[in-house]
């Protein structure tokens, strides 16, 4: 048993740290740390900085402009970025569409779309979920009907994250109604800058506008935007869902969140002493920290197995369940730590570029929204209920 990273991987970690120290503006990191919202421009600027270094999509093969990093290297990269409070990159193009394109796309599609992602020419979003479908992804009702060399698309998608910024959306659409529900689904790229596509905001619990409804009314997409074969979209969608699942453990994000929690607990007082010294609260933090330390190792075990060629199955579902629960617990504790100052609702303090004076301590405005927002973690990306079904069925084989 050897739990140290290889010298090569450790060298990469140092290189990443150096890069982040040099490239990530401290005030930007601080905004991320405090849960403030970034403007579209801030995200794009950060992605451009990563792209300049060749690290916007380091998990891509080198031939497509990536670094061909191993699963271990990607783990280190994600972890260090989170720890440094770097802005998250927009995953829909880079981490979700790109692997599908690389595996199932035509040469022309790859040659056209992948460089545009690295250049920041497109902001992608995802058109999977539909109203009323919930965890049942195969219940696709949005239709695409062939009309010459175009598809005509009608229907509605929902929970489309950051759709308000996007100019492109990849969609699951129904192209046939025969056979099982999983059949007859196609995977199509749709330009959002057309009259037939309308984006409407969904405001979440925390008051934020992150997700959207997307309506298609005779929207059009060239047949050249079909990925793979018509009616085989379910295969590609499933591939995407199983890709890079160790990131669902959110280890880096939780380590960063735990750091904030500890800072808050050291600053807040109870009975005139730091809250961190209160036996109850110290125990709450310690329990979360131990779970996270365990989860970190559970994740690394899956990473190591994947690096050795194993295909994670139920393991990624375990990471998703535990990782989201640990993250929620940390966010919940941070809210508790804040005491009465968890109450003020301060969206103006969180808005991009805002310098509004916070009510309470400087970390106050983001804490309750981060807690409320974190409730989505156990719902989306395959709800934790669906993951639990998968986990037990894998061992019971019923």
């Amino acid at each position: 048993m050897d739990l140290t990273f290889s010298a090569e991987d450790e060298a990469l970690r140092q290189e990443v740290r150096k890069f982040l120290a040099e490239t990530l503006p401290p005030d930007l990191a601080q905004r991320v740390r405090l849960g403030k919202h970034l403007s579209k421009g801030e995200t794009e600027a950060w992605q451009a900085a990563l792209s300049a270094r060749g690290w916007l999509a380091p998990h891509w093969p080198k031939e497509h402009g990536g670094q061909g990093w191993s699963v271990t290297q990607r783990y280190i990269w994600d972890y260090e970025k989170s720890l440094a409070h770097a802005p998250p990159t927009v995953a829909f193009g880079l981490n979700m569409l790109a692997p599908v394109l690389i595996k199932f796309g035509t040469e022309a599609q790859k040659a056209y779309w992948l460089p545009r992602m690295l250049n920041g020419d497109d902001w992608w979003c995802q058109g999977y979920s539909e109203p009323g479908a919930g965890s049942d992804l195969a219940a696709v009702k949005t239709t695409a009907v062939r009309d010459g060399d175009e598809y005509v698309i009608n229907g509605q998608k929902t929970w489309t994250s950051l759709g308000q910024h996007a100019n492109m959306i990849f969609c699951l659409v129904r192209t046939a109604n025969t056979g099982k529900r999983q059949e007859g689904i196609s995977f199509v790229l749709v330009d959002m800058d057309q009259p037939g596509v309308e984006v409407r905001p969904i405001i979440t619990l925390d008051g934020d506008h992150e997700v959207n409804e997307v309506f298609f009314t005779d929207a059009r997409a060239p047949v050249a935007n079909l990925i793979g074969e018509e009616n085989q979209g379910w295969t590609y969608a499933k591939y995407l869902l199983t890709y890079e699942r160790t990131s669902m453990a959110m280890v880096g994000a939780s380590v960063a969140a735990l750091g904030l929690l500890k800072d808050v607990a050291r600053t807040e007082t109870k009975g005139g002493r730091p809250l961190a010294e209160d036996p109850f609260f110290a125990a709450r933090i310690a329990r979360a920290e131990i779970e996270l330390e365990n989860l970190k190792t559970t994740t690394l075990r899956v990473v190591a197995a994947a690096a050795a060629g194993g295909a994670p199955g139920a393991e990624s579902s375990m990471l998703k369940v535990k990782g989201t629960e640990v993250h929620q617990e940390i966010r919940s504790l941070t809210r508790r730590a804040l005491g009465p100052y968890a109450l003020p609702y301060q969206p103006e303090s969180l808005a991009p570029g805002s310098n509004a004076e916070p009510v309470g301590p400087d970390y106050a405005p983001g804490v309750t929204p981060a807690y409320l927002n974190s409730r989505k973690l156990t719902i989306y990306g395959g709800s934790n209920e669906v993951q639990r079904n998968i986990i037990t069925k894998a061992i019971l084989k019923l």
Partner: protein
């Protein structure tokens, strides 16, 4: 043994529920909460006329209730409607006024009951967390009056108030229970500054700064240095109110969630037919009953000796905090994505239930207090 409200209590609660449902809908309230005072002053007056405030106080003081069960009946109805407004503030301030008594206090109390005055209770401070005895705001005696300086944190409806009851230290160390006094301070007093904001739960609060605020000698409420007992009593009434508010909200969330489980279909069947969700819903139902019982215990102990009263209050607030978080989080999860949306009325109840724990002491505070009181007994 009778666990039911009296006919009067039931009638009042029904009236309040009906008024809120028909005349003062959630949507309107949410819109109004964005700026001071944060509620419809017209509706406030009508609620006062219906008896929502009078029921909180003793007939001797111009009210027509005042028992813990009266308080619970009113706040359970308010909680089931997710009604915002300075009800808690009025209860806290009114309870202080009732405790200290005297002509001035009684006149103010009658103004509160009539809906004519809103008096905020400015006690909590940025560093006090939930400790009742920790007061750093000072009041220095001078010629003909007092001079108050300090900061008050998250004062419920502080930007809607005509006056404040401000706690300030007249002697002792910052965490002495003795040496705290209460003062009546008008909202317009020179040196008083107010920064109001809406809370996550839809109610408004304010930061209140006192910079050498001068008040006359007659504005001292009760005995100098002896306010702790008054504050504890008021907070106890507030805890009953919040627990009842929570029970009211829990019942609504329960019904919304049950309805969703019954009607929402996934994989071709109502999601309520999935056993894993059934079993979690069973936990929700059981724990809501426990929360209701905790409130009942607090109400029953309210008139008793201090230690048993305060232990029951802390047990109730602890239980409500625990159950409210459990039920709120489960309700969102059982609803799935739609449970995350602001638009769904559920979200307002969920936030209210979560924020309940940040008012008048959270689960840790009250569990520790319960233990400490038991040890002292």
């Amino acid at each position: 043994m009778d666990f039911n409200p009296t006919d009067d209590q039931r009638m009042l609660a029904d009236t309040l529920r009906r008024f809120v449902a028909e005349r003062y809908p959630l949507e309107a309230r949410t819109r109004l909460s964005g700026a001071a005072p944060g509620y419809s002053t017209q509706a406030w007056r009508q609620l006062a006329e219906l008896g929502a405030l009078g029921a909180l106080f003793d007939p001797e003081l111009g009210g027509y209730g005042g028992g813990p069960d009266d308080i619970a009946a009113v706040f359970e109805a308010l909680g089931s409607g997710a009604v915002a407004g300075p009800f808690l503030a009025s209860l806290l301030s009114g309870s202080c006024l009732a405790s200290v008594g005297g002509e001035q206090a009684e006149a103010l109390l009658q103004a509160i009951i009539a809906g004519d005055a809103v008096i905020a209770f400015a006690h909590q401070e940025p560093g006090s967390r939930y400790e009742l005895g920790r007061v750093e705001t000072t009041a220095a005696a001078g010629a003909g009056g007092w001079r108050l300086s300090g900061a008050k944190a998250v004062v419920s409806y502080g930007d809607a108030a005509d006056q404040f009851i401000v706690s300030a230290r007249t002697s002792g160390a910052p965490d002495d229970e003795q040496g705290v006094s209460l003062f009546l301070v008008p909202a317009g007093a020179p040196g008083l500054s107010i920064r109001g904001y809406v809370g996550v739960d839809g109610a408004r609060s304010a930061e209140v700064l006192l910079d050498q605020v001068e008040v006359g000698a007659d504005r001292l409420l009760g005995v100098a240095g002896g306010a702790f007992e008054v504050i504890e009593k008021a907070t106890g009434a507030g805890v009953v109110a919040l627990c009842a508010d929570g029970v009211g909200a829990l019942d609504v969330v329960k019904d919304m969630t049950a309805e969703y489980l019954r009607t929402r279909k996934q994989f071709g069947q109502p999601i309520g037919s999935f056993q894993a969700l059934q079993h979690r819903m069973a936990t929700v139902l059981i724990e809501i009953e426990q929360a209701r019982s905790a409130l009942t215990n607090a109400v029953a102990a309210f008139g008793g000796p201090r230690v048993s009263r305060e232990r029951a209050l802390s047990a109730a607030k602890y239980t409500l905090g625990r159950v409210a978080a459990l039920v709120a989080e489960e309700a969102v999860q059982l609803h799935g994505g739609i449970g995350m949306t602001w638009e769904l009325p559920l979200s307002h109840y969920v936030k209210r239930l979560i924020m309940l724990d940040h008012l008048l002491g959270d689960v840790d505070h009250h569990l520790e207090r319960y233990i400490a009181l038991g040890r002292a007994a």
